[in-house]
């Protein structure tokens, strides 16, 4: 299977394509504010679900995004899984596995909040990242100005080599398979991957030197520039709009109250 970068195809259009790439890189930082400020698990879940449905409505391929962030779930679980065992006073369950382990209600709520906060934030970041094409992503980084040009150049070269590295890895493994190499354990497979990866990294370092030379011959002086769009007033207005929505959600609209009322409506 080929490794694909998380960017959309250059010709693919969606709702977010109309917004300037720089704004699309900037917006997730605004949109994750609720995840930092809200402590109520129901609200965090509500906002995550809202983001998912908006994604669906604007045809931004939410399931594709979910499949990309599923790799993050074990890490989030690792961070949150132990919290219910040591935070809180109200015992919800007791586990007897030789020793008695208490699962506290407050801890469980905190763990769930933290889980959905990280998951929701990752989902929003990925939504905006996957709405960018590779060139838009580089354009946004260049426009940000805070990122040094040599760093952008390094990112471009690194991203160029990720699929190539993955492909050459696969070819070596296929060649080993064809010569009867049989991996009996998962550990063996990992070791083989690591060895080939090491070899390919060295090989690709030589190749990146050649790439650098080819860029130098075409006038590269430390700054990579692609064609870029100009920031329009509508892009700035978009940032202000999202900022005001977030402020309204946090300070003026009582989502919790609305949620309770919606629940009551269905229950009663």
């Amino acid at each position: 299977m080929d490794i694909e970068l998380p960017f959309k195809h250059e010709t693919e259009k969606n709702f977010l394509s109309k917004i300037h790439p720089l704004i699309r890189v900037f917006l997730p930082f605004i949109l994750v504010i609720p995840f930092i400020l809200l402590y109520d698990v129901y609200l965090v879940i509500a906002i995550t679900l809202l983001s998912f449905f908006l994604n669906l409505a604007f045809n931004l391929h939410p399931f594709k995004i979910l499949s990309k962030i599923k790799a993050l779930i074990p890490f989030i679980l690792l961070i949150t899984i132990f919290i219910p065992f040591y935070v809180g006073n109200t015992v919800l369950f007791q586990l007897n596995i030789g020793i008695t382990l208490n699962i506290y209600q407050e801890g469980l709520t905190l763990a769930l909040t933290l889980f959905f906060r990280i998951f929701g934030a990752a989902f929003i970041f990925m939504t905006f990242l996957t709405s960018l094409t590779y060139s838009e992503f580089i354009e946004a980084l260049t426009k940000l100005r805070v990122v040094p040009p040599f760093f952008i150049g390094s990112i471009v070269i690194m991203l160029h080599y990720i699929p190539i590295l993955a492909m050459s890895n696969k070819k070596v493994l296929d060649a080993q398979d064809l010569r009867g190499k049989n991996f009996t354990s998962y550990w063996q497979r990992i070791k083989a991957h690591a060895f080939i990866m090491g070899k390919n990294v060295v090989h690709n370092m030589e190749r990146s030197e050649k790439l650098y030379e080819s860029l130098k011959l075409r006038g590269f002086s430390g700054r990579i520039t692609f064609s870029s769009k100009k920031l329009k007033l509508v892009d700035i207005l978009m940032v202000l709009l999202f900022l005001s929505i977030i402020f309204a959600l946090i300070y003026f609209i009582h989502i919790k109250q609305i949620q309770i009322e919606v629940f009551q409506l269905f229950i009663l």
């Binding site: 590779y134 060139s135 190749r207 050649k210 011959l217 002086s221 692609f226």
Partner: protein
């Protein structure tokens, strides 16, 4: 090039290399693997520093001065053997525009040149594609377009026909011939393939262990017994292939 010498880790050296390329001609540089062909090309564009000797391109001596190097490099297009060493941008169009953008041209001029280069290499419909998804031949043509956009006078091609199918070789030859005819471009290429030396090059230079073994017309060179011994010949190959 005049009396050029170069040493690499004392394992490999080029000694007293001298040759001259006529304007608007096709010049073949050949020799066995490790004979120094690519090293000569890299010396020509200032990627390597010679130990001794002089290189004169378009009436100017090559120095290590950055500005002068860049001025000269604007007139030379260097096509790498592996197009993946050259294509780096997200789209073909961006990659082709890279060199033109570094020339400091206006955006409209850059766009015009990119479209012209795309058309010259028959890749207009792939302008917005990622180089990653192109075939080897298409990648080679895209890499070439990235050079053409800078309007060079001299094209240096490192193994331009390697790993190409017959149809792609035909396409490439057609492009190179058009460039030579319409843009009066000079072409210097390296190859192992005697077919291109015999039928395409105006002149040939044979390198053997970093030394010039022969320089002159291909029809004479390919008959030269010493050259035949180093490069081999069709007749020699045919002795091993007997269908009957």
């Amino acid at each position: 090039m005049e009396n050029l010498s170069f040493e690499y880790n004392s394992d490999f050296s080029i000694e007293n290399l001298s040759f001259k390329i006529e304007e608007s001609s096709i010049y073949a540089l050949t020799g066995n693997n490790g004979s120094g062909k690519t090293t000569v090309l890299r010396l020509l564009v200032g990627l390597l520093k010679p130990k001794e000797g002089k290189i004169k391109i378009f009436d100017e001596f090559l120095t290590r001065n950055r500005n002068q190097l860049w001025k000269l490099r604007q007139q030379i297009g260097f096509l790498f053997q592996n197009p993946d060493d050259q294509l780096f941008a997200p789209t073909i169009r961006e990659d082709i525009g890279f060199g033109a953008r570094n020339l400091g041209l206006e955006e409209s001029e850059i766009n015009d040149r990119v479209e012209w280069a795309l058309d010259a290499v028959n890749l207009t419909q792939y302008g917005n594609s990622s180089p990653y998804y192109l075939s080897w031949g298409q990648k080679k043509r895209a890499a070439l377009a990235g050079l053409l956009v800078m309007r060079p006078k001299l094209l240096i091609l490192d193994e331009p026909f390697a790993n190409l199918d017959f149809k792609s070789i035909y396409n490439h030859l057609q492009i190179f011939n058009t460039l030579k005819k319409e843009q009066k471009m000079t072409i210097l290429f390296t190859t192992h393939n005697l077919f291109f030396i015999e039928n395409w090059a105006d002149k040939m230079l044979v390198l053997n262990d970093g030394k010039v073994m022969f320089e002159g017309l291909p029809e004479e060179g390919l008959k030269n017994p010493k050259v035949k011994e180093v490069l081999g010949s069709y007749t020699e190959l045919l002795t091993l292939i007997d269908k009957k």
